[in-house]
């Protein structure tokens, strides 16, 4: 039983990793963007599981909250807004898809060459360190010669992953944290400015004129072809 459960993380990695790779291939290969978005959602969830396997529970939760809960909804709304299904059938790939595949394959071979066998193989990580919180405080220490000096004394204790992250994030990464809020502010203003240009309500809801035009044109072409 123990032999069975001890291999379980690796088994989970194999299954989830395979699903993630398959889903990401389908993201790229699907013609309909709605299907792409749903497979992207599957990939995100699989990646969250992979985070959990590497002792990053808080990041996994953020991944599900922000990526699966927020970004996917945004993607789906935009797909619905644009409603690509009503567009005429077009080529999915660009003209130089062979070159793109070659570049991807070359990059993968490059990466695989960097991960040489035997270099990063044994999992050496100490998971306790990822859940340890160190607090420092000044403490008066009596030296050997009788003088009293203040010294920084660290005290470590094992806590949860999110508590450890909070301690590092709000102590050592103060400036990036505030810059992140500034970034979010800029993104908010930018997206409102770019996104909020009024269109008439009828235009928003009905079939665009150009699609009707294109359908008309195709009909004419078909009639001409059939007529011959």
């Amino acid at each position: 039983m123990e032999a069975l459960t001890s291999g379980m993380p690796f088994l989970v990695f194999l299954i989830i990793g395979t699903i993630a790779v398959a889903a990401s291939i389908l993201v790229v290969a699907m013609r309909n963007p709605v299907h792409s978005a749903l497979f992207l959602l599957l990939t995100f969830l699989c990646v969250a599981v992979l985070f959990v396997l590497k002792a990053a529970e808080f990041v996994a939760a953020v991944q599900v909250l922000v990526y699966a809960g927020g970004i996917m909804v945004l993607f789906l709304f935009v797909v619905m807004l644009i409603n690509v299904r009503s567009l005429p059938e077009e080529r999915v790939m660009s003209a130089f898809w062979k070159g793109g595949l070659a570049v991807g394959l070359g990059l993968f071979i490059l990466f695989a060459g960097v991960v040489r066998p035997g270099v990063y193989h044994e999992p050496k990580g100490n998971e306790r360190d990822l859940r340890t919180q160190t607090t420092y405080r000044m403490r008066k220490v009596r030296n050997a010669d009788g003088t009293v000096t203040e010294r920084r004394v660290g005290r470590s204790r094992v806590v949860g992953n999110s508590e450890a992250i909070g301690m590092v994030l709000y102590r050592d990464y103060l400036v990036p944290f505030e810059v992140a809020s500034l970034f979010l502010l800029v993104a908010m203003i930018g997206a409102i400015v770019i996104g909020k240009r009024e269109l008439l309500a009828e235009e928003e809801e009905s079939t665009p004129q150009f699609i009707l035009d294109r359908a008309e044109k195709e009909k004419e072409v078909k009639e001409v072809v059939n007529g011959r």
Partner: protein
């Protein structure tokens, strides 16, 4: 530590098996009849008002976009809330430091909130 997630795994498995069993039994045992009202989205006979694949309003996008940005704010609040109780136990300087940095963060996003409000992005009509 990863073992504390085994119940979740078991629950996912149970959900998948239960769904498969129900659907499987339905297709094996169930009576198959295909008529237009059976295939309609609302079998009870409510007539459809419109098709489902029409374009949605751009307002939905705006709300979703604002939701994401404030979602990030909430995600940053979690670890802060977890450490705040401990930070208040340590010397006074640290607790004010932790409080102050979150105050700056929330204020900066509050400016964005007011901007969005003034731009009437929350108004539906």
């Amino acid at each position: 530590m990863t073992y504390s997630f085994v119940p979740i795994l078991l629950m996912i498995l149970a959900a998948a098996i239960l769904g498969a069993v129900f659907l499987g039994l339905n297709t094996i045992i169930g009576k198959k009849q295909r008529n237009p009202s059976k295939l309609a989205p609302y079998e009870s006979g409510v007539p459809l008002l419109d098709e489902s694949r029409k374009r949605v309003n751009v307002k939905f996008y705006q709300i979703a976009m604002l939701f994401i940005l404030f979602d990030i704010e909430a995600a940053f609040l979690y670890p802060w809330a977890v450490i705040y109780r401990n930070a208040t136990l340590t010397p006074a300087g640290i607790s004010w430091f932790v409080f102050g940095e979150m105050l700056v963060f929330v204020l900066l996003l509050g400016i964005g909130y007011i901007y969005v409000w003034k731009k009437r992005a929350f108004d539906w009509t």
